[in-house]
Amino acid sequence: MSTQRDELARHMIEIVDGLVDEFDFIDLAHELASKSIQLLDATVAGVMVVDARNELRSLAVDGDLELADGIFEFQTFAGPAFDCRMTGKAIKLNNSQDFAQWGEIGTRIVNLGFESMLVVPMRMRAQVLGVVQIAWTHPSDLSVTEIQAAQMLADFATIGLVQRAAMPDRRELAEQVEFAVQGRILIEQAKCMLAVQGSFTVDEASALLVLYANHTNEFLRVAAQKVVDRELSYDELSSVAPR
């Protein structure tokens, strides 16, 4: 138990250290998704935010990305993530039977191979800014500590999103979200350019871009923009951050 607490504390300290420095929310979202996987031994995890069009958008996803594309892209108007967003309450599904209440969406999630899920809200007072969604390809029965850890990660995501504005109003928040959404699009474009250049998978390209950004202490967005602008090639990138 103390080992688990130590590990949790270590991860939280790393996140807080990042929040003190200058950061880009996309990088924070990636880190939180990654830490959700590590802390909870999950298959996939992702940070989703509510955009200016009032729709849930995934900003960063980690884990088995081929499976992830499924559950993060069709819950805009229904599903556990949508319900968490609308109610502001965490939703925990321990096994595949628990998904039945979501009808076709639930069946789609189970057919992708997922058997359990935890969705926690990113809340700023009464407003739900987004959700952190974590899923497993086996049944799970999370402890209270683990659920609290997931909520803490979501709370850090909220802090990261609102931190920039001294007195964040909804419009300023919406613009932060939109900037992050555009960052996600840029990263998707860049990693596929890299995948073609290096003849490897999109997952590998994604990992390489993250490795490069960490190695050079650049924001993911900046590295991705360089790739899209053809100022950074796969050869240059992999020489700085070899796989």
């Binding site: 958008r57 996600r184 596929c192 350019m193 890299l194 995948a195 073609v196």
Partner: protein
């Protein structure tokens, strides 16, 4: 902001499209923007270099005059917005914009502009330009005005991409009913094609859209196919 208001605004714009006549689809959007946001003028500019913009549509001469001011002076809200990718809001032009673009602020004021709101028209790494709303009175955009501005900005991005894809303009009202620009597979496919054909992102997206149209597939379906095949044998 009311729930669904951006989507409601988009529907309102599309419903009013036929009431505006112009050979230029983007001019129609600007005219609608002036009427429905509302604003005293609406202008769309495209980037033409690091500090150069080119006005491509406006609802009236004031829009063109203000855009040309930015072009002449090399400073202004559209340029800032294209550079940073973030919207710029100046509800009080002399006080808020003058520190950033003093020459522009002064000259724009003499044209009767008291407030400027500029939004980036972009799809990730594809910088398409900027949408700028001009007002003759100081003051922030209200919630419904802001929702209308965002809806108009989305429509501008969608419309510019449709124009680049060479699809017939009469198809635009139907194609604009839904925006599919938030599907990851579309952006992944764009990156794949841009690299495979060594073309820009906007050309890649235009090619994908044109091909999807010819095959009677949705852009999302076609891009999913491109991604699954790694860009092989699909264009």
């Amino acid at each position: 902001m009311n729930d669904e208001s951006v989507n409601d605004s988009r529907r309102r714009f599309l419903a009013a499209l036929n009431a505006v006549e112009s050979e230029s689809f983007l001019t129609r959007l600007c005219v609608l923007g002036e009427k429905l946001v509302p604003a005293d003028s609406v202008v769309i500019v495209a980037p033409a270099g690091e500090t150069i913009i080119s006005p491509i549509a406006a609802s009236n001469q004031l829009g063109f005059d203000v855009a040309n001011l930015e072009l002449d002076l090399g400073e202004g809200p559209s340029l800032e917005v294209i550079k940073t990718g973030k919207p710029m809001r100046f509800a009080d032009l002399p006080t808020q914009l003058a520190p950033i673009a003093p020459l522009f602020a002064n000259r724009a004021q003499s044209l009767g502009v008291a407030a400027v709101f500029s939004f980036p028209i972009q799809v990730g790494g594809i910088r398409l330009g900027a949408l700028t709303l001009l007002k003759s009175e100081e003051g922030e955009l209200g919630d419904s005005e802001n929702a209308s501005a965002i809806a108009l900005n989305d429509l501008c991005a969608d419309a510019i991409l449709l124009l680049q894809s060479g699809l017939p303009m009469e198809t635009f009202p139907d194609l604009l009913q839904g925006s599919d620009l938030h599907q990851p597979k579309i952006h992944q496919a764009t990156g794949i094609i841009a690299q495979s054909l060594e073309c820009s992102m906007s050309v890649a997206l235009a090619l994908l859209r044109a091909r999807a149209f010819r095959l009677d597939m949705s852009l999302k379906e076609y891009c999913a196919l491109v991604v699954s095949q790694g860009g092989q044998n699909v264009l």
